[in-house]
């Protein structure tokens, strides 16, 4: 039954600054933050704590009034030091100063055999791990009231400099399996575990039980769960599917086995501007300053929580995003370049081969900065997006439908099947420099809220 899918479209961005597969030492982070902005689709966050309160790992911090069963818990024990709000009192960050030793709230172990689905859902939602379950369409935190037709887990990340999931989850076998067991109870359909068909699959994934293991091979975005769903069991209007990252599966497993909200995870510290790179064990929402300060090769840099295609720019004192398993530090590109649009170069990375773009001759790694290399323009070149989106979708027409706010067209052209990360490569290769991920989100919001 398991499928073996080979994808021909796509593009691997060979960035400089890979993390070697080894653990490196950093001072443990002292402050942590929950960022409501990480949770796409959160409408009215309500904070449950005040500045100065002490919390344990697992104490509820906030919830969304639109979906109040789902609790967002503190990843560490310590003191709430700041509740940061932005314009119009928009909630930005809840900062926690961590204790030296983490103490956990006892959330109660879950015996999967004797627990029925409704109780399991309730416990997962109250146990802080529910936000790891993402709903397709729309790519928002799943609604506990729904039952998905299937659950999809991508066991590899094909993004630039992405962490190796097999390495990251070493030693977490029993939690991973417990997480999978829980997920199989949540759907009457299948749980798909999609592994990288081009590489040796780590035992953790190969030995997983109770799930359908599918192989995907090809360039990025082969590891994107949206692409995988499209080839396994595509989402049509009215369907609901859920996706979980392997890290999320492990955290669900820890709640079940240990009865506590353990938000620790191993992340990759990557990027061409860092001196020391590698993997480090930390906790969700950690301040990244400990990984970055004193570890830089140059001054003018950008710190990114996540990868360079879908990540978010944060400050040097910023915090790791809830869904992010890596930080990337690359040079900032705020410089002018004399005749930059004309000069030939083998060092400037390009998907295209237009005159002077000779990067296809360069088989090495590329050091890429944040310069846009040009200004925004209307769509002119055609047929480019199609080369990096391995789905039976016509991206240009979909984008135009969103710009035109044509609801029928958006639906018919497949907006239910994609979220931002699926068009991240389109955004990268676009010679007209449009912000396509933002565009896709605005289209999704139109479909969701009207």
């Amino acid at each position: 039954m398991s499928k073996n899918v080979k994808l021909r479209k796509g593009f691997d961005i060979n960035l400089a600054g890979k993390a070697a597969k080894e653990m490196v030492d950093f001072e443990p982070a002292q402050t942590f933050a929950i960022k409501p902005t990480d949770f796409v689709g959160m409408q009215r966050p309500k904070v449950l704590v005040n500045e100065g309160d002490t919390v344990k790992a697992g104490t509820p911090i906030l919830f969304d009034k639109a979906m109040d069963q789902v609790q967002y818990l503190s990843p560490v024990s310590g003191e709430i030091i700041e509740i940061k709000r932005g314009e119009k009192r928009k909630l930005l960050e809840i900062k926690i100063l961590a204790d030296k030793e983490t103490s956990y709230e006892d959330l109660g172990k879950i015996d999967l055999k004797s627990t029925d689905r409704a109780t399991l859902v309730e416990k997962l939602a109250a146990g802080g791990v529910w936000p790891h379950i993402i709903q397709r369409p729309y790519g928002v935190v799943a609604n506990p009231a729904d039952e998905p037709k299937a659950i999809f887990i991508s066991a590899f990340d094909s993004n630039p400099l992405a962490p190796d999931m097999g390495f990251v989850l070493q030693g977490e076998e029993q939690y991973f399996q417990a997480g999978l067991d829980a997920l199989t109870k949540l759907t009457s359909g299948k749980v798909h575990l999609n592994v990288n068909g081009a590489e040796q699959v780590s035992a953790l994934f190969a030995n997983a039980k109770g799930v359908q293991i599918n192989k995907f091979s090809g360039a990025h975005p082969a590891g994107n769960v949206g692409v995988q769903i499209h080839h396994l069991d595509p989402i049509n209007k009215g369907d609901i599917a859920w996706t979980v990252s392997p890290v999320g599966v492990v955290q669900i497993g820890k709640l079940i086995v240990e009865g506590k909200y353990d938000a620790s995870k191993t992340i990759a510290v990557t990027g061409s501007e860092l001196t020391k790179r590698g993997y480090v064990k930390t906790i969700s929402g950690a301040s990244v300053s400990t990984f970055v300060k004193g570890n830089l090769q140059s001054g003018n840099i950008r710190v990114i929580s996540g990868n360079v295609l879908t990540g978010e720019k944060i400050s040097m004192e910023g915090y790791l995003g809830f869904y992010h398993n890596q930080i990337t530090v690359i040079p900032e590109g705020d410089y002018e370049e004399f005749l930059g649009w004309l000069m030939p170069s083998t060092k400037k990375l390009s998907f295209h081969k237009a005159i002077g773009m000779l990067s296809f001759l360069n088989k090495g790694e590329f050091k890429v900065d944040t310069n846009t290399h040009g200004e925004e323009r209307p769509f002119v070149v055609s047929g480019v997006f199609e080369k990096v989106l391995p789905m039976d979708i016509l991206p240009t027409y979909l984008f135009k439908a969103i710009i035109a706010e044509d609801f029928d067209e958006m639906e018919e052209l497949g907006l239910y099947e994609i979220i931002e990360e699926d068009v991240a490569l389109c955004e990268f290769v676009d010679p007209s420099k449009n912000d396509l991920q933002q565009l896709v989100r605005s289209g999704i919001e139109l479909l969701m809220y009207s």
Binding site: G238, L309, L339, I355, S382, L394, S432
Partner: protein, 399 residues
């Protein structure tokens, strides 16, 4: 470079909000971004890095692909001129003469076109786009050498305004802008862009005995009417001057015609550049040539005159088919935009060109009308391709 940057910086306040030339900010920005790729960085959310290719580089690639045709065109204008007046001169003289007649057309096309663009950018306050880099060159290359400069200017203004800006500028147009310019002249001032007299630059000199300025297409068409085999008619044309319309002569391009269109070889060199760099769709180019060939074969089957019976590969080298298929049909904005649609679109351009050439006495050259017609139909082709995609999605849902 620092000095130039400083110069830009020093005049910048005049163009910013509240400055005395604030309306012209878009021109300031346009020039600065030509000198220096801008210092813009990616937004805080979304892709943090971007591809090094931008639209300027895509456009300049097309311009570079047209340079062989331009250089050959300049040489050929001189060559044809001295051939017609029966004078033996060196290649340098021919090149200089060609340059003397081509350069003014090129300058007028660029100057007038860019002026019109800039005016619109200022009025509509949109950024200066790169599209005219290509259009300006294309317009010059499809003009006959004898064209009055004021007509070039008028056609350029018409094409930029009615062909492009009324739709919202680069990327929004329906018709190929350069073809619009040529079609405008064709219908407004036919005397200067059709017939037998305009394809060779004569000045006030008189041609030698036995010289005919007719194009290969006209010769072939007349052969059809007179019932002479086309290959004989082409071979005997200007044979006394050593400038007959043999296949290889036409392939090389040593024949009268518009400045850049005569040489199939140069168009093919351009095609290689465009296909290798991925800027133009190879599907359109291949299916364009294929469509012309197949329609030529169909004409052979139903031949009721000698022109219809002409060997189909002659269509490839006569008139502007090669130039049009390579540089005009592949304009991504006005062409079909779906990959399947590109096959159909290119094929129909090739086929229609041959139909127009062979069956319509009023328009000996068909490529111009074929491209414009298919520009109009491209959205229809795409409509069906897109519909098929939607249907696949819909059928999946019911299974």
């Amino acid at each position: 470079m620092k000095a130039l940057q400083n110069l830009f910086d020093s005049i910048k306040p005049n163009f910013e909000k509240g400055g005395k030339w604030e309306k012209f900010y878009t021109l300031y920005e346009g020039h600065r971004t030509i000198a220096f790729a801008p210092d813009l960085t990616t937004k805080s959310k979304g892709a943090q890095i971007k591809d090094a290719t931008d639209l300027k580089r895509v456009m300049i690639t097309v311009v570079i692909a047209m340079i062989p045709a331009l250089i050959f065109g300049i040489l050929n204008i001189g060559h044809q001129h001295f051939l017609a007046i029966g004078e033996e001169v060196t290649w340098i003289d021919k090149a200089l003469f060609g340059l003397w007649s081509v350069l003014p057309i090129l300058i007028v096309s660029y100057a007038v076109g860019l002026g019109t663009e800039f005016t619109f950018c200022v009025i509509r306050n949109h950024p200066v786009s790169e599209g005219f880099l290509v259009t300006g060159m294309l317009i010059a290359l499809v003009m006959p050498p004898h064209i009055p400069l004021w007509q070039v200017a008028l056609a350029t203004v018409f094409a930029v305004v009615v062909g492009k800006e009324v739709f919202g500028g680069t990327g929004m147009n329906i018709l190929n802008v350069a073809m619009t310019a040529r079609a405008f002249l064709y219908f407004a001032y036919p005397a200067q862009i059709s017939g037998d007299q305009v394809w060779t630059y004569m000045g006030d000199q008189t041609p030698v005995d036995g010289f005919s300025g007719a194009t290969a297409l006209a010769v072939a068409y007349n052969a059809g009417i007179d019932g002479v085999p086309v290959s004989d008619a082409l071979a005997s044309h200007n044979a006394s001057l050593g400038a007959d319309f043999s296949f290889w002569n036409m392939f090389m391009g040593w024949i009268p015609g518009s400045i850049g269109e005569t040489s199939t070889l140069m168009a093919l060199i351009g095609a290689v550049i465009l296909i290798y760099t991925g800027v133009a769709s190879w599907k359109i180019i291949v299916s364009g040539f294929g469509g012309a060939y197949l329609m030529g074969l169909v004409m052979n089957l139903f031949a009721s005159n000698e022109f219809m019976a002409m060997a189909p590969h002659f269509h490839w080298v006569m008139g502007g088919l090669a130039f049009g298929v390579v540089f005009m049909a592949t304009d991504p904005v006005s062409a079909a935009q779906t990959e399947t649609g590109k096959w159909v679109y290119g094929f129909l351009i090739g086929a229609l060109t041959v139909i127009i050439r062979v069956t319509n006495p009023a328009y000996p050259e068909g490529i111009m009308l074929a491209v414009l017609l298919m520009n109009v139909f491209a959205p229809l082709i795409d409509y069906y391709v897109v519909k098929a995609n939607k249907t696949r999605r819909l059928q999946r849902a019911t299974v």
